[in-house]
Symmetry: C2
Subunit: 300 residues, 2 copies
DNA sequence: TGTAATTGATACGGAATTGATATCATGAAA
DNA sequence: TTTCATGATATCAATTCCGTATCAATTACA
């Protein structure tokens, strides 16, 4: 099996035209070259590929099989080259993208949709994870981008804020404050709270305790859940109320009401974070895309 | 895109070992050859495939994509060569095989099963057709082998008898003769007959009329069907009786009874027939197989 | 710190491959 | 018969390819 793509190209040309001279002309080479290439193939394979009876050329059974394979191989090679070039330029590739509840219910879907329109040959693999686990994965190079709850600053890693949400109170619809158009944080001081589990929701807890402390109370947590869905479910059961971000409006669970909190101007930022490694063109493409992406804000 | 399989093989070897010298040793060539092959590829593609930082070699993103494609291409090529060789030797290929009702309910399944065990890389495509249409297809080279009702003799075409069946009477189970262990053909002289339609079953009709004439009567056909299933269905409805071959025993339809016909020693031969064209190795393999295959006889 | 070992890159000469031109052999067409 | 078309062959020049020897850079180790 000692032949190259050149022999294959020559054979395929002859096999397609069933005419040496025409094929040679089409390939801009001299005819004897094709004769030799085909002879070489036949000798290497130990198989006659053409029947040259009379003055017509026709493929043998084995020749037909070989031709088909050659055409596939040649087409595959072309595709491979183009795919390799695209990968080099960052036009193609694969990205593993982590996301939090906040990110996926906020800007991330829009970001990914918009990015994929720009780079249809880059596949994305979204992976759910809380902030800390995403950061771990990025450090271990198991994740290309994280969409996490800020603030974060980390040497070696680049960041870009992509989403900024206000705090909102989540009430069930027959709660005493449900009729109000907005609430004050201090009005919630004596409420029972349903919140995310402290370990997973560490960042959000930190923020929440800070703003509550500023309002003069410590939230009383009566129940915790592992994700936003769980929190909303428990609030809907009237186990307590919760505080979430304005991106929660995209959930719109029946029986729940979202209230703007008038006296809290702090925001929760969702930031994208990635390792700035120029060796991954697709990463660079997404990083560049993120840098110019405006900060989304779900203001109520 | 001016590179050969050689470059690809070299690149893949280096990429797999991530070590030029080891790869060179494994391929039994000198190390500089690999350096040059990879450089050539990189130059042709305009893409850096390896990061040669420090004294370690690692693939770039584009290199990984290219490697994967190269491995696929190389494996495909190997498979293609082996498939081509097999096609040449007759070990692989495709056969379009026609069959009649008699053949498919008789020896053909056994023949094909046995042949496929010998030649697992030859695919067979069974096509139902009556004798005359199979012969047409073979002449037009649209069919590789026919399994038809004999006798047939045709110049240009080779034949081999593969099956020999006795005539049997097909009765419904409350027919007056149903209790008998065997019948005489002459006893059926006044019966109503359900037979295959004369155009499609021409060969069988010819045989049947000949033996009936010898027994001194002309069968009275009251109904005809287009295939054996249809005939058996009509007999089961007691529209009449029929005469079929002993291979019918494989149908075993409820309510039907098969009776040996004592005074008829003629047989119906099913023969395989094909164009003796040495240009199709798979045909030759099957032809050789058939020639040594014993004649099957479903004697009751 | 200095010496040896390892690794990929480079230079060069001979061998093999490739391609173009001219020509041949054969069968078909005029 | 002559003429034409087609694929095969011979030959020479250009290119490509491989192996040997060697280099430069880095690491390992004493």
């Amino acid at each position: 099996m000692k032949f190259g793509l050149r022999h294959i190209r020559h054979f395929a040309a002859v096999a397609e035209d069933l005419h040496y001279r025409k094929a040679a002309e089409r390939m801009n080479i001299a005819q004897p070259v094709l004769t030799r290439s085909v002879q070489h193939l036949e000798k290497e394979l130990g198989v006659v590929l053409f029947d040259r009876t009379n003055r017509s050329v026709s493929l043998t059974s084995a020749g037909k099989v070989f031709l088909q394979g050659c055409q596939v191989t040649l087409a595959t090679m072309e595709g491979l080259v183009s795919q390799t070039l695209k990968t080099h330029s960052g036009e193609a590739g694969h990205l593993r993208i982590g996301y939090t509840d906040f990110a996926i219910s906020g800007e991330l879907p829009k970001i990914l949709k918009s990015f994929r329109q720009l780079y249809p040959d880059i596949s994305v693999e979204p992976l759910h994870g809380v902030t800390s686990s995403q950061l771990d994965l990025i450090k271990k190079d198991k994740l290309d981008f994280g969409f996490v709850t800020g603030p974060i600053s980390h040497e070696d890693l680049e960041t870009k804020t992509v989403q900024e949400d206000n705090y909102v109170a989540i009430l069930y619809d027959n709660h005493p404050l449900a009729k109000r158009s907005s609430v004050l944080l201090s009005e919630l001081a004596n409420e029972d709270f349903v919140l995310g589990s402290p370990s997973a929701w560490q960042h959000f807890h930190d923020h929440l305790h800070r703003i509550c402390r500023a309002a003069g109370f410590v939230p009383k947590m009566v129940q915790h859940a592992f994700n936003s869905e769980g929190i909303f479910g428990l609030v809907a059961c009237e186990m307590g109320i919760s505080i979430h971000t304005s991106c929660a409006e995209n959930y719109l669970r029946k029986g729940l009401i979202f209230k703007k909190i008038r006296d809290v101007s702090d925001t929760i930022k969702t930031i994208s974070i990635w390792r700035n490694d120029p060796a991954f063109p697709a990463r660079k493409a997404f990083a560049d895309f993120l840098k110019q992406y405006p900060v989304g804000a779900t203001q109520q």
